[in-house]
Symmetry: C2
Subunit: 321 residues, 2 copies
Amino acid sequence: MEISENNLVESIRKFARKSNSVVRSIGDDGAVADLEAGQYVFAQDAMVEHVHFELSFMDPYYVGKKALYSNISDVLAMGARPLFYLVTAGIPARLSSGDILKMYRGMDRAAREFGVTLLGGDTVATARDLFIDISVIGKLASARYFGRDKAREGDLIAVTGKLGEAALGLKILKEGTGTAGMKNCIQRFLSPSPPYALWKELVKSDITDVMMDVSDGLVMDLSRMMNESRKQARIHVEKVPMPRQARQKGLEELALSGGEDYQLLFTFPREKLPAVTAIIEKGGAITIIGEVMAGRGVRVYRHGSEVASPKKGYDHFGGKP
Amino acid sequence: MEISENNLVESIRKFARKSNSVVRSIGDDGAVADLEAGQYVFAQDAMVEHVHFELSFMDPYYVGKKALYSNISDVLAMGARPLFYLVTAGIPARLSSGDILKMYRGMDRAAREFGVTLLGGDTVATARDLFIDISVIGKLASARYFGRDKAREGDLIAVTGKLGEAALGLKILKEGTGTAGMKNCIQRFLSPSPPYALWKELVKSDITDVMMDVSDGLVMDLSRMMNESRKQARIHVEKVPMPRQARQKGLEELALSGGEDYQLLFTFPREKLPAVTAIIEKGGAITIIGEVMAGRGVRVYRHGSEVASPKKGYDHFGGKP
């Protein structure tokens, strides 16, 4: 890279906009923020070149944007409004300063959308590959955190949006095949903005305190939730919302095990069904896909008959989950 | 790596010890902590294989330990007591789960020393190289943050401990030459514990609100402080504390531009000199090395004569600072 760390920090500094609660921003050993008393959420998540993306089909702008979205998604899934973020960029010599600033511009775009403020972070050289690691701090918007560990027997299971879009988008980008009619899926892979408006409705209506985001695939993520809650989930493939093309092309698997949609997965007690229905009737993209039972794990049904559990989803190390 | 992400997370989970203020720890989309109102410090800093370390001379235990120390150092340098940390580990397939757990054990050792609690983070695969990125959250211990931007004309400049130890230690490790009498330097490179007891004395005696840590080399770091404060520093080589071997071997340069000592660099007004002297007389390793003047930049003197400014220090991208 043709610029020095000092110069890069100067360029990045302009993305740290003023905020009343920020006492000291970029330019020091750390940042200082003035916080009210309360419960705060901390999430930290990375994206790595050749593992989570290839620059051949993902512009640095989208790498930055998606990395921040995925962390905001985690904070929302805990029931918190995102406030601040810090970024570590690991930068190989082959990247230009223009590429790096594009990445920060992508983050900045996502940050404006959710009203979060850049506090600082680090820029480091890497021997070969690009990585970006972001931490986001948020403040609980409700009385209790939204946890994976609170699903109760009898709860209904719901998701926002459609599942499998990002996986289908990635498939198209990798194969370089026709993108006609698939723009939504490609967009979901490159720029998976979490459903903030819908999240606010869920918080306002006090529907749930059991939530996670779908980042590694529905079955994998739901099995993690059931593991934490010590319960069993039963879901119905025909109810799982997915892009039309996934049903047509026999790619339903992508909706069950494809990751990176960053939709919200939650459970709620049956007495909240009228409140959920009210949101759906106002156009809220929520679909009920199953129910929580006694037991463990995830069981998948098609029109009432259990089907062999599909590949669970994305394990970051390719090990057997 | 032979284990899956789910299994690794289970293994890491045991390092997240109970803390009264932690409401939800590892196992969810994010962690939840209950915070009092006040000013909090956020720092985030990474170490990358082949850039900051080689596994050939740095065991993963020390990689983890040093990565946490360097972040704790940043938080102390802002005037805050460290409370929590989050870790992202970027893990290539050639590392064993044993290596990774060693890294977490190293962090855990440093965390116990400073009473900080693991909140969470991420584990991701990388195509080739190991990296570790840590964020630390602390709470201000004094009324005002310690900043690089507050040095005043007439202030004296001081450092804790010795400078150049880590650089000398690294040189020995790289060259594989005799380590007799150099254990301190090697230890400083591998395990640079920030001077917490001394920091507490400085906070208690209310000596300064101008501080940073020496991570990239004295001249480089001091020039950053002067840049933020819009002042000039004059330092005296013969006063700079360094290991005996550095003076003997004509390696004084390492004390001026060698990084990674994680000692504290601070300025203070002359009226605080009696309080500083009192700490020194009690055995506190503090050395006054120069003074702050009007102007800009850093000027280096040897027995009263200005010397050409040495190489400034470590720039993470090798650019010209």
